[in-house]
Symmetry: C2
Subunit: 183 residues, 2 copies
């Protein structure tokens, strides 16, 4: 039953996005899955191990998406990217970066490294997407593509945060404004 391991990661992912890494316990995982907390420790000896598994899964998901999106023009690629966040906003979830970066100082060195890795991955992809899109005249913006990518990523992260507090319509308002500025 490798199934259990995947269900633990799945639930941990949801808990990190909804409550935060420091606000869920092994009990929050073992109870709904109807196993004992020691069973969670069996697969993930420490909470750090579990956190890392969740981040790794996210990094892999991005890698798969990147491959799939690569066949489309850059403006559509960026739209796909936004859609990932849009789906999350509808569920009331935030993204891993938005959840883990506030807790950054409380995370183990190993988790901090993974969080860094993930953010670099995302920023690198958005930078390339914007850069290539501009060359093809699909995007129009001034300045360094990396700086523009920072703006895009930054807005994705915190529009999910704001959406939770001030209402879900906020996400669409921010992403529409962002796109208008770029196209």
């Amino acid at each position: 039953m490798q199934d259990t391991k995947e269900r633990i990661i799945e639930l941990a992912d949801r808990l990190i996005r909804t409550r935060g890494f420091n606000a869920f316990s092994y009990k929050d995982i073992s109870d709904p899955l109807e196993i004992k907390n020691a069973a969670v420790h069996y697969y993930f000896p420490s909470k750090t191990d579990l956190g890392i598994a969740v981040i790794n899964q996210e990094i892999e998901k991005l890698a798969i998406n990147k491959l799939y999106w690569a066949t489309f023009p850059e403006n559509e690629q960026l739209q796909f990217f936004f859609d990932v966040f849009y789906q999350r906003s509808k569920q009331g979830y935030i993204c891993l970066m938005g959840s883990l970066s506030p807790d950054y100082e409380t995370l183990s060195a190993a988790m901090q490294e993974k969080v860094q890795h993930m953010s670099e991955d995302v920023l690198e992809w958005v930078t390339l997407c914007l850069e290539n899109g501009r060359k093809k005249q699909l995007f129009h913006f001034e300045g360094d593509a990396y700086n523009r990518a920072l703006l895009v990523v930054s807005n994705m992260i915190s529009s999910l945060l704001l959406a939770r507090v001030t209402g879900k319509e906020v996400f669409e308002k921010i992403s529409n404004q962002l796109l208008k500025d770029l196209l």
Copy 2:
């Protein structure tokens, strides 16, 4: 010694910004101040009371700043606003919104309300600042001022988050890009 109460709020504020609301305990406050944890409960019976006090202080600080800034032209007002965040980024602190919104679902109803209040306050001010600044031709942007304010606030929040993970230079890159787009 009303002093103790203020020092508790001060330290709680720092802990919320550095570690997160769910990642500090009364011990983290009582130890450095060399008092007992019950002394913290004396001033703030529950953790929620303490959280609310911290948010209230922030709302008051903004109110004072708003009054002071009002005598300046809007582009300078916005620069002052950015500077508040810039100072935080240099300290490695994040803002209250960036810290409390990921934990939003785990907060008491009373704290959730306060967080909402704070975010509405900030958004209202930035919206007015942008709107008035545009009328005076100090800002140049397309679309609704509120949507643009969302973008500005959203970037302030998450540039502090990103700065923590990918380096402090990120804050300046984002805010410079933002200002360039507006001026």
